[in-house]
Amino acid sequence: MGAILLRRLASAVPILAIVSILTFGMIHLIPGDPAAAIAGLSATPEQIANIRRDLGLDQPLMSQLIHWYGNLFQGDLGRSLLLGQPVVEATMQRLPVTVALSAYALVITLVIGLVTGIVAALRQNTWIDQVAMILAMIGISLPNFYLGLLMIILFAVQLRWLPTGGYVAFTDDPLGWLATSTMPAISLALLLAGLLARITRSTMLEVLRQDYIRTARAKGLPSRKVVVKHALANAMIPITTVIGIIVSLLISGSVVTETLFSIPGIGQLLTQAVLNRDYPMVQGGLLITTALLVLVNIAVDVCYALLDPRVRYDGA
């Protein structure tokens, strides 16, 4: 297990190096004047020029690149042009918000997706299966932005059960966090729950047709035990892969939801950074989120090893 972990961590280094080079190159290739973006609408040429000079944006690109890498090797990702705040500090302020929201959405995704998929597989070709798959299709098809707006109208404006937006940290007020995070988490989760339900159903159907399941049933094992211990345990390997992808999608897909519900997360931060050509923030923020996604993938690999002994033996 240790060997697998070490090998995966070592493979993360070139990934992060490539990402850092690509982000630096790509963000500088996009046309657009960050000074104009920071200055805002109807800023005068003098105001824009002062910002450009003050932030060192009038320096040659190579000089900016050397400066950035020099600082990177010292663990300094620079300072956001837009916020005037260190990139690490700005990212770390927002990351817990997105992680908490994603975790909540993941729980909803897993509960709805797995249960719906398993039930649909066990009741294949019945009305339950049909309804479950129609709901899954609706979940996949409905844009989360539109779903979010519908929920605001229903649960916030009409019923007054939940707030229209804003964010309360879990550490400040757990109930407040639940109230402000429920609609965003559901709007994030439904799309992915639909996806997970369909994949779980098809994987379960495939596993349920295997000889060892037939054998288990022939031995007279209770149906619940066959499903949970034999079928689900084996189906979980491909499902784990999908869950890994879902976690990545939750983190990267939070942009729209965060904007709609006024949640100060990493998605909103990076979107603003890209739109305003906040070079250090885009470069540093993407590096940090890439590192996070690499860690998620490593966690998925570890889960494989835990679920499937063959992976452990191969790894050793």
Binding site: D33, Q47, P264
Partner: protein, 524 residues
């Protein structure tokens, strides 16, 4: 309302000393308390007011900070932290006596040393530090006096000093070496002080109990006057999605919002819990030609474009119906307003346009309308203008990029674009001088070849800045506006109305360039 404080042995004709009835009662909060949550449309980058020209920063920071001078409700310069100002007979010295006692939010007594430190920092990192280009130096002969020494007389200096675009706000002297944008814990002298700022989420302010209102006034006026914090706290919540702002106002989670979408207004008007507050003349929607490239380097071609335009159609599409047609670069309610050049505005005569087009020798070259979708009004106005130009035979093509890219492209001379779509908000509100700088060299928005502006226009601009009398400077502005419109160096379409809204239990909220939270109170 105002007792006399601006005194001058020289020329102060441009300044108006607002004097109200002597027996007028001073404002007193009808109700004290309450927590107001305001939905702000744009993210805030920084609360370091000296280094930011953005509206989103000003929205919040101008409730925290104050300056020596500011503008009143009618945009006239007034004193704020100064008790009096005297201009020397040679116009080279401005002496400010400070109001006292004024305490910063950290409890420290404000003295002229803090004013010196604030000017020192502004000269170094202030986003509009050219205000001080003609200033030789400044000093503080005693704790209550601050003196500015000019290099040469500048009749427009007080107008520039009182500008709220990027004001020289007064901060404690110990903060003077804080680098640009990094003043994260703003300490001012205003009626509200910072409680917390959570980037991307909200900024919370609370009443500053040690606030010293300006007793020279009886009421709040503009950014100054007699200000009182009636509310316990004000939270500016960042709600960028218009639908969410509307929902928040309807549920009462937000007690006030800015920029209500036009489509929501019919519904909201029927809600007795909500007050709709239109703010006319929020910005001028405008297109700037590129006169360094064909065919917009040709005056007859530009006149053809001007003749083809129907401003009603353009503004209607751009603003969803919330607009006013307006000639030129000031609004009728402003002292600088002139309709000089009005015969060039809203001509909507396709036949005339075609006649000019034939005279220009136009041969169907592409005419590129450079716009963006970040600001839908700019995109929509470009779209309608494209149709109108095509209708008279101009090969108008849209180039749609994002806002930073369009600004960058528009700053370049030569081919690539012919008209750049933008909006001028803060500068027209500040007056003619602030506005017309867009059209003066260097970097004039009509991109003259080699950055050499039209000599007639440059002469008018010089007169606007240097003539000793307000009347002379106003005549120069009228001349400059006429030149700009007649030679089609800009196409101002009209002015937008920005619609704000508050809950019915919020009183005293009067729409202005920022949401002013002083003298605003809530009833249950």
């Amino acid at each position: 309302m105002r007792r006399g404080f601006l005194t001058s042995a020289g020329v102060l004709a441009g300044l108006i000393l607002a004097v109200g009835p002597a027996n007028a009662e001073r404002f007193k909060c009808p109700h004290t308390g309450g927590n107001l949550v305001f939905g702000q449309e744009a993210n805030i980058n920084t609360l370091d007011q000296m280094t930011s020209a953005t509206i989103s920063t000003r929205n919040i920071a101008m409730n925290i900070y104050e300056s020596l001078m500011t503008r009143d409700e009618n945009n006239h310069p007034i004193l704020e932290l100064a008790d009096s100002m005297t201009e020397s007979p040679d116009h080279l010295t401005y002496t400010f006596k400070l109001r006292k006692p004024i305490h910063f939010h950290n409890g420290k007594l404000m003295t002229s040393a803090d004013v010196v430190a604030s000017f020192d920092r502004y000269a170094k990192v202030g986003n509009q530090r050219s205000i001080l280009n003609n200033v030789k130096d400044w000093d503080a002969p005693d704790a209550d006096t601050f003196v500015i020494h000019m290099k040469s007389p500048q009749p427009t200096f007080i107008e520039a000093l009182s500008s709220f675009s990027v004001p020289i706000v007064i901060i404690p002297s110990e903060l003077k070496d804080t680098p640009a944008q990094q003043l994260t814990n703003p300490i001012g002298t205003g009626p509200f002080q910072l409680v917390e700022s959570v980037p991307g989420s909200h900024v919370k302010l609370k009443r500053y109990e040690g606030y010293s209102p300006n007793t020279s006034f009886n009421e709040r006026t503009g950014f100054g006057g007699y200000k009182q914090a009636c509310l316990d706290t004000v939270t500016f919540r960042i709600v960028t999605e218009p639908g969410a702002r509307v929902a928040g106002l309807r549920t009462g989670e937000l007690q006030g919002v800015e920029d209500l979408p036009a489509k929501s207004l019919p519904d909201l008007k029927g809600d007795k819990n909500i007050k709709i507050l239109p703010l006319k003349n929020w910005w001028i929607q405008i297109a700037s030609p590129n006169t360094s490239t064909a065919p917009t380097d040709n005056l007859m071609f530009r006149k053809a474009v001007q003749a083809a335009l129907d401003m009603d159609e353009i503004m209607d599409a751009a603003s969803d119906g919330n607009y006013t047609l307006n000639v030129g670069f000031q609004y009728p309610n402003q002292p600088d307003y002139t309709d000089a050049g009005k015969e060039t505005y809203n001509i909507k005569d396709p036949a005339l346009a075609k006649k000019y087009l034939a005279q220009s020798g136009y041969a169907g070259e592409p005419v590129v309308l450079l716009t963006n979708k970040d600001y839908p009004p700019m995109y929509n106005s470009a779209l309608v203008m494209q149709q109108q130009l095509q209708a008279v035979g101009i090969n108008a093509q849209m180039k749609v990029v994002d806002w930073p890219t369009s600004v960058q492209l528009s700053q370049k001379e030569g081919p690539g674009w012919n008209f750049f779509f933008t909006g001028w908000g803060t500068q027209p509100a500040l007056g003619a001088l602030a506005t017309m700088q867009f059209l003066a060299s260097p970097n004039a928005t009509y991109r003259p070849k080699d950055d050499k502006g039209d000599p007639d226009l440059e002469a008018a601009w010089k007169d606007m800045n240097t003539l000793p009398t307000a009347e002379g400077r106003h005549e120069a502005f009228a001349r400059m506006q006429k030149i700009v419109l007649e030679r089609v160096y800009a196409l101002p379409f009209g002015s937008f109305t920005k619609v704000q809204g508050v809950r019915a239990n919020v009183d005293g909220f009067v729409p202005y360039r920022i949401p002013r939270m002083s003298n605003v109170w809530m009833t249950n």
